[in-house]
């Protein structure tokens, strides 16, 4: 760097809003060439020598707030973020954005996601009580909450952006295509029918997560005839850039629709074979290692639970399936209410309404669920919680347990608690209880954060892993 050579000692003096900071060119350059500070010191901007050089030390003036700059300079020097009291975080972030250091700030705020070291970082109260359906984490640390006919979108500072509506149709699911694009699956409203056969509400659409503008509507055609449909669960396959959605058409066209994200056009449609409830699916999960899609349609949405693995290559086929239909219907019967394929892609974990975990082997067909007693949730306070659960079921819509797998750990929600299981045998290692927003109706992991949506008043909690201790 020409500048460094001229000053000899590589020292730089910065006058930021009247306060003088002295540092080295190396420290500033460590921010990267594509930041304001990196560009300012680059040779191309200092070709003519520096008029303001005093004692051989280059001096620059920056017309910004010195208090924030002090924090950011400290971040460049130490790699850690220390926010002094009285300096609001949004202000710091605004300044970081000016210098191009926002990513650094974000990275320094929290450590790498670890289910056993989570800390409650924030609790955000929602607006419409009681009807939250889903919370989804964005890849950049933001999130969205689907409730009723709207999806509320939050950036990673948990500031609310413009909400997303798909003709105000009830939203079933949402998914982030990338940090700036949000997919929404919504229910078609009966009666609202056009003469051309395409309904108004419902279906799948892509929105800008930043502005809330509608970007694209994904259409389904049956026999070259575009038809309106109700979209259920959404899933993405990042490697081939495809979107999957469970679909229910008006004329019994049930199945799983597939779209190419690049063109936005329908790529395929897997019609529901007899005995597999695909169109009603609660959850889709793409399995990279086997190139298959797991479709889970669970009790109580349907009378029985169905799990299916679909292969979309050449001749579309069902490669694995399981159902508990036909088992004796006693009251105490264990029904799988949620499922997730574990990260090794070899087995499915299911959970029943009594919070037992069970496992199914994906490499064997026609196997039975192996219920695990060892991983029984909430063993420590079983009695108390059973009572609470019973009470909860008594007067309001039940929140059934849900599952997620992330970073080798298994997460399960029960009531108002998230349980974390680790290791190959899925041993309970942590329980997380948040702000007290009532039972958990959904949770999601992404962008190094865990978002937990509670049933009462749509409070959602944000859990983060604190940065590792310095000493």
């Amino acid at each position: 760097m020409g500048m460094a050579a001229k000053t000899g000692r590589g020292r730089v003096r910065l006058n930021v809003g009247g306060r003088v900071f002295e540092t080295t060119a190396d420290t500033l350059a460590s921010a990267g060439r594509d930041t304001m500070l990196g560009a300012m010191l680059d040779a191309s901007w200092n070709a003519g020598g520096h008029d303001d050089a005093v004692d051989g030390v280059a001096e620059y003036f920056i017309d910004r707030d010195p208090a924030c700059f002090a924090v950011l300079l400290d971040l460049l020097r130490t790699g850690t973020l220390h926010l002094p009291p009285g300096l609001p975080e949004p202000t710091l972030c605004r300044e970081a954005l000016y210098y191009g250091l926002l990513d650094r700030v974000r990275a320094a705020r929290a450590g790498e996601f670890d289910g056993d070291r989570l800390r409650l970082a924030a609790s955000v109260p929602g607006r419409a009580p009681g009807d939250g359906t889903a919370v989804r984490a964005a890849p950049d640390g933001g999130c969205c909450v689907a409730h009723g006919g709207a999806v509320r979108v939050y950036n990673w500072l948990l500031e609310e952006r413009r909400p997303v509506y798909l003709d105000h149709a009830p939203v079933n699911d949402a998914a982030y295509l990338d940090a700036a694009t949000l997919l929404v699956a919504a229910r078609e409203r009966p009666g609202n029918r056009r003469s051309d056969g395409g309904g108004v509400g419902g279906g799948v659409a892509a929105f800008s997560a930043l502005t809330g503008d509608l970007r694209h509507r994904f259409r389904v055609a049956h026999g070259r005839q575009p038809r309106s449909f109700t979209a259920g669960a959404l899933e993405l396959d990042a490697s081939s850039n495809r979107v999957f959605a469970s679909c229910k058409g008006r004329l019994n066209e049930y199945g799983v629709g597939v779209w190419d994200c690049a063109t936005g056009e329908q790529a395929d449609f897997f019609y529901e074979p007899p005995g597999c409830a695909l169109g009603d699916a609660d959850k889709l999960q793409w399995l990279d290692n086997t190139n298959t899609l797991m479709v889970a349609t669970m009790f109580p949405r349907t009378d029985a639970s169905f799990l299916t693995l679909l292969d979309f290559r050449d001749d579309k086929s069902v490669v694995w399936s399981w159902t508990d239909a036909g088992t004796p219907a006693s009251l105490e019967e264990k029904r799988a209410v949620h499922a997730v394929v574990l990260e090794d892609g070899r087995s499915v974990c299911v959970v029943n309404q009594y919070d037992d975990l069970g496992f199914l082997d994906l490499r064997k067909n026609a196997g039975a669920v192996r219920w695990s007693s060892r991983s029984k949730l909430m063993m420590a306070s079983a009695g108390k919680n059973k009572k609470a659960a019973a009470a909860a079921r008594g007067y309001e819509e039940t929140c059934y347990p849900k599952l997620a797998a992330h970073g080798g750990q298994l997460f399960a929600s029960t009531n108002d608690t998230i349980s974390v299981f680790s290791g190959p045998d899925h041993v309970l290692t942590s329980t997380l209880r948040g702000s007290g927003g009532g039972a958990i109706c959904d949770f999601s992991i992404g962008g190094d954060r865990l978002f937990v949506l509670h049933n009462e008043e749509n409070v959602f909690d944000v859990w983060e892993t604190p940065p590792p201790a310095i000493i």
Binding site: M36, A39, M40, G49
Partner: protein
């Protein structure tokens, strides 16, 4: 206290909805940036303050002027680029590329600085609205305004292709300028590089090499042509590393391969006087290596080389094995086969990188032609016989091992392995009985090789022969130990007791033994039958040897090593001076053919004439008379009288062996049929045929007609029956 003025003062100000910004804010700010961009393009940026410009752009975006700023920027960049275009267009001749390059460098530098100023817009407005980032926008404008402008696009391509053509013709060009120009195209995106340069480049190259290859093939020999092709391929890939995208390497190689090699493949490989066959004949390893590696790129290339090589081997092999001249000397015949095999092994090893598929082709070709001559099994056995007889005398044991290993290669090609076994047994018997087996180790090593190749069954009888010799040795010792006190004057005999069946059966032609011998042998018979109950002992006088001490009329003493027949003849002369053929025949009762051969070897072999024949003719008639040659001299004390050595069979013998082999095959085929039927119970005719053939393949290739006959015979003997409804089905009868 005055309230009135106060009241007047408390006038409510009209509510102001928003703070009005300077209406000229955008224009003022843009003017600043506009001027700065002009200074940057004029290489006069030293007076600019980055911080000020960055802040200006930041404020514009902050006050929602992002779209307008983006629009103005686009228009402004375009203006600058149009200025540049004019100066590039004006550049003459060779300066064109240089000027283009200079302007490209300038634009790049300027673009970098403009991007620095507008970095905040990149991060916010452009990201949110999915616009093209500033730097990429600059590249797109360069592409559309300059690289693809009507005056420059064609000229640029022509210049590049012209330079490449000149380089192909041997001129030196400015490679670094080429490199930076193609790099510019790549920087503009791989599609620009491909469409504006690579595709036309490949087309022009195709027509260049199509022409050049036509020219070469008219005047070059195959080897020379391939050298040219190799040189061109190397040149092209070097060119790619010098100044093109790495991905072009594969494509240009494909073009050269197609034009220079694939299109002329048949003509090159089959080229008269210089093609593949010629290279093989002359062992031109270097050319062969080149051909192999070049045609690796061509689909069907290796398979074509392989099939031409295979048919050449078959052709030369066929003429070798069917040449009547060659049949005269079996050892030479096999040696030639071995040499041929060595030759191709070397070629495949050195030039064809030991390619498995080529080795397979070689093997199947050999298998094909070796079996064209039904005497091959006999000859190979004779070759082994020759080697094992001479054994260590000529070669070290290691060399012998390698030779035997090579012979085993030939053995593997044989379809009639049982025929080989037959001959090998005969030859081995002769070797063992005449004591000519040079090395026991080598004999056994050969047996092990055969065993690993064909299994225990194949060699069990051969091993039995070795065991027989060992026990015979012991028995003879025991015999003398038991009768040591008796007449020490009697001749010593060494008896080899051969188990019937293990040894090749010979028509048992007895002869009258001399009384001295007869006495000893009768004694031995008594001894042997005394120790072994229920056995029968027959003398095979045609297979023995004897050492006799002879004192000639001139006083010279010699020890003669002769066959049993010869001994019988010589012993007659202890009591007679001269005998006629008829007398000898009567006295010994040796079969005429053997006797004649035996007398010829005693009387007519130069330097070993123990007997004299009257008259001295070659043929022997009944009235010819023989007497001891008193003038017999030899430098050696021990004289070996030639016995009839193992040699290739005469025609009637051959026919006999063949018949014996055919006869032996019958029970083997029947056994195979029964084995198969026993496990399958019911089977149709064709399946039996294939299964039997498969089972017996390691030993011989059964003739379908013979199999059919065997099936019929088994039906007759009620092992099998035909199905009542489907005549093609056979049933096994337990």
């Amino acid at each position: 206290m005055s309230s009135a003025p106060k009241k007047r003062g408390s006038r409510i100000e009209p509510f102001r909805h928003r703070v009005e910004t300077d209406p000229n804010f955008f224009d003022k700010s843009w003017r600043k940036l506009h001027d700065a961009i002009r200074e940057i393009y004029n290489h006069n940026a030293s007076g600019l303050s980055f911080e000020e410009l960055y802040r200006t752009a930041y404020n514009m975006v902050l006050h929602k002027h992002g779209p307008k700023l983006y629009e103005h920027l686009t228009a402004n960049l375009k203006e600058h680029l149009e200025e540049m275009r004019t100066s590039i267009e004006a550049a003459q001749g060779g300066l064109f590329l240089e000027e283009l390059q200079r302007k490209w460098d300038e634009h790049n530098k300027a673009l970098q600085m403009i991007r620095d100023i507008l970095m905040y817009m990149d991060r916010t407005y452009i990201l949110t609205n999915k616009k093209t980032p500033v730097f990429d926008l600059g590249l797109e404008l360069w592409r559309d305004t300059i690289v693809r402008s009507s005056m420059i696009q064609g000229r640029l391509l022509d210049t590049l292709l012209e330079l490449i053509h000149r380089e192909r013709m041997g001129e030196v060009i400015n490679r670094s300028l080429m490199r930076s120009t193609t790099k510019m195209l790549m920087d503009l995106g791989s599609s620009v590089y491909q469409e504006d340069f690579e595709r036309p480049f490949l087309e022009v190259s195709a027509s260049f090499y199509s022409g050049e290859s036509q020219q070469f093939i008219e005047c070059c020999a195959c080897g020379e042509y391939l050298k040219q092709a190799e040189r061109r391929l190397n040149e092209e890939s070097e060119r790619v590393t010098q100044y093109m995208d790495m991905k072009t390497g594969e494509k240009i190689t494909a073009v050269v391969v197609k034009e220079m090699l694939a299109n002329h493949m048949q003509r090159l490989i089959l080229m008269e006087n210089s093609g593949l066959v010629n290279m093989l004949v002359e062992d031109r390893y270097e050319d062969l290596t080149r051909m192999y590696s070049l045609f690796h790129h061509v689909a069907e290339g290796h398979s074509t080389i392989r099939s031409v090589m295979a048919s050449h081997i078959k052709e030369t092999g066929k003429s070798l094995v069917t040449d009547p001249e060659r049949l005269k000397d079996p050892v030479d015949f096999v040696q030639r086969l071995l040499n041929e095999k060595d030759k191709y092994d070397n070629i495949i090893n050195v030039s064809f990188s030991n390619d498995k598929s080529f080795l397979n082709a070689l093997n199947s070709s050999f298998e094909n032609f070796i079996n064209l001559n039904n005497r091959s099994p006999e000859f190979i056995s004779l070759f082994v016989d020759d080697k094992l007889r001479k054994g260590v005398k000529e070669a070290s044991e290691e060399d012998l091992e390698t030779i035997l290993d090579k012979v085993m290669m030939l053995f593997r090609y044989l379809q009639e392995k049982d025929l080989f076994e037959k001959y090998y047994k005969q030859h081995l018997a002769k070797r063992l009985l005449s004591g000519k087996a040079a090395s026991d180790d080598s004999e056994r090593s050969m047996l092990v090789k055969l065993k690993t190749e064909c299994g225990y069954q194949f060699t069990s009888k051969l091993e039995g022969m070795f065991t027989d010799l060992k026990t015979s040795h012991d028995t003879t010792q025991n015999f003398y130990a038991a009768s040591s006190s008796d007449a020490t004057d009697a001749p010593t005999i060494s008896v080899q007791i051969l188990t019937t069946g293990s040894w090749p059966t010979q028509p048992c032609s007895t002869c009258n033994l001399p009384p001295e011998i007869l006495a000893v042998s009768e004694k031995f018979r008594a001894f042997y039958l005394g120790t072994h109950n229920g056995r029968r002992l027959t003398w095979q006088t045609n297979m023995g040897t004897a050492d006799i001490k002879a004192t000639f009329g001139n006083g010279s003493k010699h020890e003669l090593n002769v066959s049993t027949y010869q001994m019988c003849v010589l012993m007659l002369f202890n009591s007679a001076d001269a005998l006629t053929y008829r007398e000898i025949e009567q006295a010994t009762a040796i079969p005429a053919a053997d006797l004649k051969r035996c007398l010829q070897s005693l009387a007519l072999v130069k330097g070993k004439q123990v007997l004299r024949k009257e008259p001295m003719s070659r043929d022997i008639s009944d009235d010819d008379s023989f007497c001891v040659n008193d003038k017999f001299t030899s430098k050696l004390f021990k004289v070996k009288i030639g016995t009839v050595v193992a040699q290739k069979e005469t025609d009637p013998e051959k026919l006999e062996t063949r018949q014996r082999v055919e006869e032996d095959r019958k029970p083997q085929i029947e056994a195979a049929i029964v084995r198969i039927m026993k496990s399958r119970r019911v089977l149709d005719h064709n399946s039996i045929m294939t299964e039997v053939t498969k089972q017996l393949q390691p030993r011989f290739l059964p003739n379908p007609v013979v199999i059919k006959k065997r099936i019929e015979s088994l039906i007759e003997r009620e092992f099998l029956e035909r199905d009542k409804t489907d005549r093609k089905l056979y049933r096994y009868l337990a």
